[in-house]
């Protein structure tokens, strides 16, 4: 039976996401989907959901919500001190929720983005094959007070815990993996060196569309003819700003694409707070695991 969870407080920024919207980039539609796909996949795996089940992506400061029906949930990714009726919960385990119970979040302990998955997945509407929220494509783009998210009621049953040390490795990592982008070879040797030696940190302006770095890399690269880009493409602007395009990033761009983050690289980067230092680890294509 369909039931709902009602949002009492929206928190900082939360949205419904799945693994993304495919087949529409040629019409200018971003892929969207969970920023940290690894954490999102784990949350669904714990509940034995389909990998593409819709879940809630929570940024830094979590929402408060009341369940109208029984549910099984799992929280992964950032540790944001989740609590059910005031009792603290751990990440990476399945939790039974009874009708009327209230889920809230507290202080951040690690990471930046957490994932709340629910048995069966949130049943919000699909647009162009995906439930991921994105302004201009879906009616909603962020969680707001009073919203009701539908889900299928589940019977409570015995739950298990997941050893959670290994699964959070990418969140603790301070190294972001990147491959050379199409315009990497246009960089001077000193610029290439700076990329690998420097420590970078996300600027406050960063969001689901792109993560900008605070540190500037002076360069003499010329603009390129606007070409396609991907989530994880790192562009370098004439003023030296590095912009890593993220899941909601635009589909084409005219700045030199100097790096392409690996999937793990993206998943690590999106877990960093603005100001938190990371290094870029350049990987060669020949080093990629087959």
């Amino acid at each position: 039976m369909m039931t709902q969870v009602e949002i009492i407080q929206p928190g900082l920024y939360s949205s419904i996401q799945d693994l993304g919207r495919y087949g529409y980039r040629e019409f200018g539609v971003p892929t969207s989907g969970a920023m940290d796909r690894q954490a999102a996949k784990l949350a669904n795996l714990l509940l034995k959901n389909e990998p593409e089940a819709a879940l809630l992506e929570i940024t830094l400061q979590g929402p408060k919500m009341a369940f109208f029906g029984a549910a099984k949930i799992a929280i992964t990714g950032a540790r944001l001190s989740p609590e059910l009726d005031g009792v603290e919960l751990e990440n990476n385990q399945v939790v039974n929720v009874l009708p009327g119970q209230v889920l809230g979040f507290g202080k951040r302990k690690s990471g930046y983005r957490a994932y709340l998955a629910i048995k069966g997945g949130f049943q919000t509407g699909k647009v162009l094959g995906s439930r991921s929220w994105y302004a201009g494509v879906t009616p909603n783009s962020r969680l707001e007070k009073g919203m009701k998210l539908p889900f299928l009621e589940t019977e409570p049953e015995s739950v298990f815990r997941f050893s959670s040390v290994k699964v959070d490795e990418h969140i603790a990592s301070v190294v972001v993996e990147a491959l050379p982008g199409p315009e990497f070879e246009l960089l001077q040797p000193s610029e290439k060196e700076a990329l690998q030696k420097w420590r970078f940190s996300a600027a406050k302006e960063s969001n689901r569309m792109g993560i900008q770095f605070q540190e500037k890399l002076e360069n003499k690269l010329e603009a390129v003819l606007t070409g396609p880009v991907l989530p994880g493409t790192v562009q370098l602007t004439p003023s030296g700003t590095l912009i890593a395009l993220m899941r909601d990033g635009q589909t084409t761009g005219g700045y030199p694409r100097i790096l392409q983050l690996t999937e793990t690289g993206i998943n690590t980067l999106v877990q960093k707070l603005p100001g938190e230092k990371i290094g870029i680890k350049l990987v060669e294509y020949s080093q990629l695991k087959k």
Binding site: F27, L179, G181, P228
Partner: protein, 241 residues
């Protein structure tokens, strides 16, 4: 032998193919022929092909053994295939209201270019623009063919909010904002048509390779079309090319 197309890896699951770095109908034709060939060869659910002026990305959604070699093989097959077929395209007639209510920067362009507003409107709606690709925002068309007299640099201070349907000029380009967004182009009018419909099976009726011509409508007609669009009763006039 030409250096093009160039094939470059782009991350773990994608390959970039680049033709000569130029904006021309001939290069676009090469891009679109290859795109069509790849989309027919590859299963759409597993591979996404996105194109721009002179390049395209072939993005595998699942990681396969060796993306690079598979694409190289396909390109070889493509170059040997001698594809002569013409890419099907349509000419779309798009209404624009150039009234002062919408044409916020018409006066400025008129002064700077020493052209009357009437002349700007005539020039802007006198050519068939070529759609090179869709990017930036869902349904945002990159159009080529803006008459040289209308080339005009972007605004030094972009607007925080450009309204949906705004028709603008930025450098050598003209285009329509499919949704309200920040924007640095000079706004000369507004089109009431829907360029992106997430509820439709094919969300954009107009796509790369098509042509587009603007025609002038007055405020009243703009309003009338807007109402029809809202009710889902307006379709953009078009003809096969």
């Amino acid at each position: 032998m030409s250096d093009f197309p160039k094939i470059k890896r782009m991350g773990e699951r994608a390959v970039l193919v680049e033709f000569e770095p130029e904006i021309s109908p001939e290069t676009l034709e090469k891009v679109l022929k290859l795109k069509k060939f790849l989309q027919e060869k590859l299963i759409k659910q597993k591979v996404e092909v996105t194109s721009a002026y002179n390049s395209l990305i072939i993005n595998y959604l699942l990681r396969i053994e060796d993306v690079y070699n598979e694409v190289c093989g396909l390109l070889e097959e493509f170059s040997g295939a001698n594809i002569d077929e013409i890419i099907e395209s349509e000419l779309f007639h798009v209404p624009v209201c150039y009234d002062d209510v919408f044409g916020l920067d018409l006066g400025e362009i008129s002064k700077a270019k020493n052209l009357s507003e009437k002349e700007i409107i005539r020039l802007h709606s006198s050519v068939d623009y070529l759609v090179y690709f869709t990017g930036f925002l869902p349904g945002f068309l990159y159009l080529g063919g803006l008459p040289q007299k209308l080339h005009f640099s972007r605004r030094s201070h972009p607007r925080k909010k450009v309204r949906k349907g705004a028709v603008g000029i930025g450098e050598k380009q003209t285009g329509i904002y499919p949704q309200t967004s920040p924007g640095g182009w000079n706004i000369i009018g507004n089109s009431p048509v829907k360029l992106f419909d997430p509820g439709a099976d094919k969300p954009c009726k107009i796509s790369a390779g098509d042509r587009l011509r603007f025609y002038q409508v007055d405020l009243e007609e703009h309003q009338r079309i807007l109402e029809l669009v809202k009710r889902g009763e307006f379709s953009i006039k078009s003809e096969k090319l």
